[in-house]
Symmetry: C2
Amino acid sequence: MSLVVIGSMAFDALETPFGKVDRIIGGSATYVAWSASNFYKPIKAVSIVGGDFPKEEFDKLTERGVQFEGVEVVHDGKSFFWSGRYHMDMNTRDTLVTDLNVLAQFNPQLPESYQDCEFLMLGNLVPAIQKSVIQQLRKRPKLIVMDTMNFWMETAMEDLKEVIGMVDVLLVNDAEARQLSGEFSLPKAAMKIQAMGPKYLIIKKGEHGALLFHGKHVFFAPALPLEEVFDPTGAGDTFAGGFIGHIARTKDISYENMKTAIIVGSAMASFCVEKFGPQRLQSLTKKEIDDRMDEFVELVNFDIDLVGA
Amino acid sequence: MSLVVIGSMAFDALETPFGKVDRIIGGSATYVAWSASNFYKPIKAVSIVGGDFPKEEFDKLTERGVQFEGVEVVHDGKSFFWSGRYHMDMNTRDTLVTDLNVLAQFNPQLPESYQDCEFLMLGNLVPAIQKSVIQQLRKRPKLIVMDTMNFWMETAMEDLKEVIGMVDVLLVNDAEARQLSGEFSLPKAAMKIQAMGPKYLIIKKGEHGALLFHGKHVFFAPALPLEEVFDPTGAGDTFAGGFIGHIARTKDISYENMKTAIIVGSAMASFCVEKFGPQRLQSLTKKEIDDRMDEFVELVNFDIDLVGA
């Protein structure tokens, strides 16, 4: 059995109020893999890269139990490239460059070895490709988690809705939840989106935490108040990786366990933003993860002693 | 022993995306009293009103254990009037009218009967008046909680800092914490503000919850995701009232108990926004408060089951 992750593997150029990098490893599949591999293996990646993607990056992830049979290497092509600049509040950013490069011709063919997929993480990508991967799996995975973004709502809404109808858990941010549902109130947006298919909806609010909706239930996970947010790139993918990694490890897809999975995702995201790109994730120890989980418990834990004048 | 509350008692005119009222009871002392009186009595108010302030409003609060000996009535004057319009996101608003009226001449003389003050809640007001009330108390209260706003940072920063140096708990919103400290990061802002005097700092983030800082400790209380936010006016004062009401009831000023007090404040604020002005607070039952506290427990409660790939 395995966790299959589909997404981009890419280069990013980043500018934040704290510094600048011209070329650093990025991509949704990369971040998900770095994050989830703390909790589960094997992870089987589906992606496409150019001949410029460094062998060392594959090697480092291979050591952590990530497999790449489903990653197409186009030797005379260039990897996907994204460049962005963050504003002071780190919640908003401008995209400066998007070079699809080899991603423009991405049409993944799932290797036979990926048919043991028990958990499927659809990283942010063209909805039609996300759909194709679901359809290529002969046995439906135990849980399908999907990430997406506003860009697909503007350019491929019909395809997007079709994929949303096929998944169990949808991950979007608050603005995207509003855009997708046409509702400003998040609880109302959550009801409408659940009616589109997914039984679980996670709304990410960046530094303001994340909400998990399921039927009429709602759970809130805070973000850790951080002294320094160095670079938010990949935080959402890292969150998704921690979420699916915890679910895959425990093989428990209950609502109760998803709450814990969201705290794991929040903890992983809080590391991601401490350095440029996936660097912080690459140096992470189990002890550091355990300690940060304890910080989350302390952050929200209170004794209830009820009222009466 | 008593809880003394100082603040405005006023009329508001409000416009939200959901409706409009031309004249409704408002003021920080009013909201604090409605909220705190669910948990504690007697509450002794310090304020000033004009001859136009309705006797029925005093009567309704008197029934709940609120006393008004320290409230000056200027029979030929008009009560403070504020008018504002909320934007769609309900987190931002424009002030349309501010008529200080009798508040301009407010120079409270604390009645002798208020000297039994055990807990002091300084609602948002001119810092010099807040200071005067502290100085008039011969015995320092067990806990002094202070609310303030950006307006005083712009017009009376020296006075404001002096009062901040005299209190135990300061309540501000995130923008105000940044303005007061000159730090963008909230944990850094919290360290600087604690160095100004208050050992406890509560940073309110509206629909994104509230943070309690104490030394290096931090606690986060979510806001309940609400289907309808009808009118946010008074939510901050109502939060403060729930906080100080719980502390006064339990007489426990520990950090642990302040966590619970913040959840109580959040629960009370979640009611406040459901109707215009203090209307919802006026119809509240103990059962409703207990049920909402349970919702908060459900909102953040999770089982921790730790990691290991």
